[in-house]
């Protein structure tokens, strides 16, 4: 029977890339967004509006 390892590795690598990628990109986006929200909320009014 042929060894199909290369196909198995390709599928698990693809799944890691897709599911890991969507998780990491969301974590990164959340970190950036929450930092910017905190900056906006803590910004004094005169700085906020000028």
């Amino acid at each position: 029977m042929p060894d199909y390892s290369v196909y198995v590795i390709a599928v698990y690598a693809l799944a890691t890339l897709v599911y890991g990628g969507i998780t990491l990109s969301s974590w990164r986006a959340i970190k950036g967004i929450e930092t910017r929200i905190a900056q906006q909320k803590n910004m004094p009014l005169e700085k906020k509006y000028h």
Binding site: Y4, V11, Y12, I33, I37, K41
Partner: protein
């Protein structure tokens, strides 16, 4: 929603533990006497396919809830479901194609199951594109909700395609009431564990995406408020 986001941290750890246990079972399971090592593709392909359908069911429910109650939470959850479902559909199609080459001798066939699954991926992409293409978030939410509800017609077609038409894809081998499972005993535990882990993975990813979308909306409101005061 804040409580849900706090719970999601624990859900993430639980998902990771379940995935680790499932992967251990996958790579210690015996080989199939006909398919050999390539049977391990089943453990990634089937849970991904099930989740591509489950996430679309959730997307349809959130869309209907949003249209009926004008709930922003439902709208956020619907928006969050689309990219997650698209990821599951993409992995299903590509893993199926990779599995098809050694087993069927072809990467792709315009078979009813494969084609209806491709339609699901196109639907997910269309929902994402439509929302991004409409500037008004209220109109965008409504338009994508209507498209998602109409698109749900593809779900029974995907599910019954292998029974309704003669297909290259084999008939269902898991979870049939009449025949039970046609998968032999030792190959079943990794599939069950992986399927459970994927239910948690899908839930975790949708809540994570919802947190990102909610944050982005809050930020946009703060920035709009700032420009209107300037």
């Amino acid at each position: 929603m804040k409580r849900l986001f706090a719970l999601n941290r624990w859900l993430g750890w639980l998902t990771l533990s379940l995935l680790a246990a499932a992967l251990w079972l996958v790579f210690t399971a015996p080989l199939d006497y006909q398919q050999g090592n390539s049977v391990r593709i089943l453990y990634m392909h089937v849970p991904s396919a099930k989740m591509a359908l489950f996430v679309y069911i959730a997307l349809t429910v959130f869309s209907a809830w949003h249209l009926w109650k004008k709930s922003e939470t439902a709208d956020i959850l619907a928006e969050a479901s689309a990219p997650v479902g698209a990821a599951f559909a993409l992995v299903t199609l590509v893993s199926g194609s990779i599995w098809g080459k050694p087993m069927w001798g072809t990467w792709w066939a315009w078979d009813a199951r494969l084609t209806s699954m491709l339609v699901l991926l196109i639907l997910y992409m269309g929902i994402i594109a439509l929302r991004n293409g409409i500037d008004d978030p209220i109109k965008g939410g409504r338009a994508t909700a209507i498209l998602a509800i109409f698109g749900a017609i593809d779900l029974p077609i995907i599910h019954f395609s292998v029974s309704w038409w003669r297909t290259l894809h084999q008939p269902p081998s898991f979870g049939q009431a009449s025949t039970g499972s046609t998968i032999t005993g030792p190959l079943l535990p990794p599939l069950v564990w992986m399927s459970v882990a994927f239910i948690f993975l899908g839930t975790y990813l949708v809540i994570l995406k919802a947190r990102e979308i909610r944050g982005r909306r809050i930020l946009e409101n703060l920035e709009t408020e700032r420009t209107s005061h300037a």
